[in-house]
Amino acid sequence: MAKITFPVEASHIMMFARSIGDTNPVYHDAEAAKKTEAGGIIAPPSFAQSVAQFNPDYFLRPKPGQPWFGSGKTASGVEGKASSSGGLHAEQHFEFHRHIGPGDVLSVETKPGASCEKESKRAGKLMFRESITEYRDQNGNLVITARSVGVTTERPVSQG
């Protein structure tokens, strides 16, 4: 995948912190954040995943003029889609070399990692796929390394 440019912005961090219910001033109050050890606003640890916003081709964002698999006039806007649960997120790991904040402009590259197949009682055949994402700052320094594991299930995960 091509490199994605991810400008880290204060308003995005503020909204992200709100969406996880985190009222810590270090995520939204520049004055208060200055007095903390962080020395200014920083992003919550799992914010890095919001790089999806800056991926022009991100498949989980509707795009103008293109069919979308969510509901509209019908339950799915894409005909003939198998009623499988599709992909789910199985694991997410971050390694922080430095905590990012507003003003950082990250260059982000994702590479495929290992994959494996497993059998489960709750969802049938499971296909696990790993990807490694490196976030580098404007000086070329590696700031975050992320490892994500996605799983495709044969059928929806049974509950209970």
């Binding site: 996880i20 985190d22 509901s71 997410q92 790991h93």
Partner: protein, 139 residues
């Protein structure tokens, strides 16, 4: 406030209720800020009629974010060096989640004091929805 390594011992825990009665609206909020608009999380019609689930469910990353809030409250701002999780069960609207960090090790690496933590987030029925590990710099 950062952790004080000399005041910690293996087995110490910190718990927080990170969400009570999770609303569909908060899941929508998370979709908006993360950029993950998978209809499984926000579109009840698609999720029940096409994907075959009983209702929409939260992004795994929302549970990670909620758990991260407990974690950063415990270890301090900008102190995490590692944070990794496995999503073990789905989180549904109406769920109440409690997240716990347990001290697994206190060590020193290159003169830096580090605390290793194991993480567990459970729902109102005591079912584990996420497990994980984290490492933080301590004083």
């Amino acid at each position: 406030m950062a952790l004080n390594a000399s005041a910690l011992k293996v087995g110490d825990t910190h718990s927080e209720r990170v969400v009570e009665n999770l609303s569909r609206t908060q899941i929508v909020q998370y979709a908006g800020t993360s950029g993950d608009y998978n209809p499984l999380h926000t579109d009840e019609v698609y999720t029940t009629q096409v994907a075959g689930y009983p209702s929409v469910f939260a992004h795994g990353m929302l549970t990670m974010g909620l758990t991260g809030k407990m974690l950063t409250n415990y270890v301090g701002d900008g102190r995490l060096t590692k944070f990794g999780v496995r999503f073990t069960n789905q989180v549904w609207p109406g769920d109440t989640l409690d997240a716990t960090a347990t001290v697994a090790a206190i060590r020193e690496e290159g003169g830096v004091k580090l605390v290793d933590l194991t993480l567990s987030t459970v729902n109102q029925d005591g079912k584990e929805v996420m497990t994980g590990n984290a490492t933080a710099r301590a004083d």
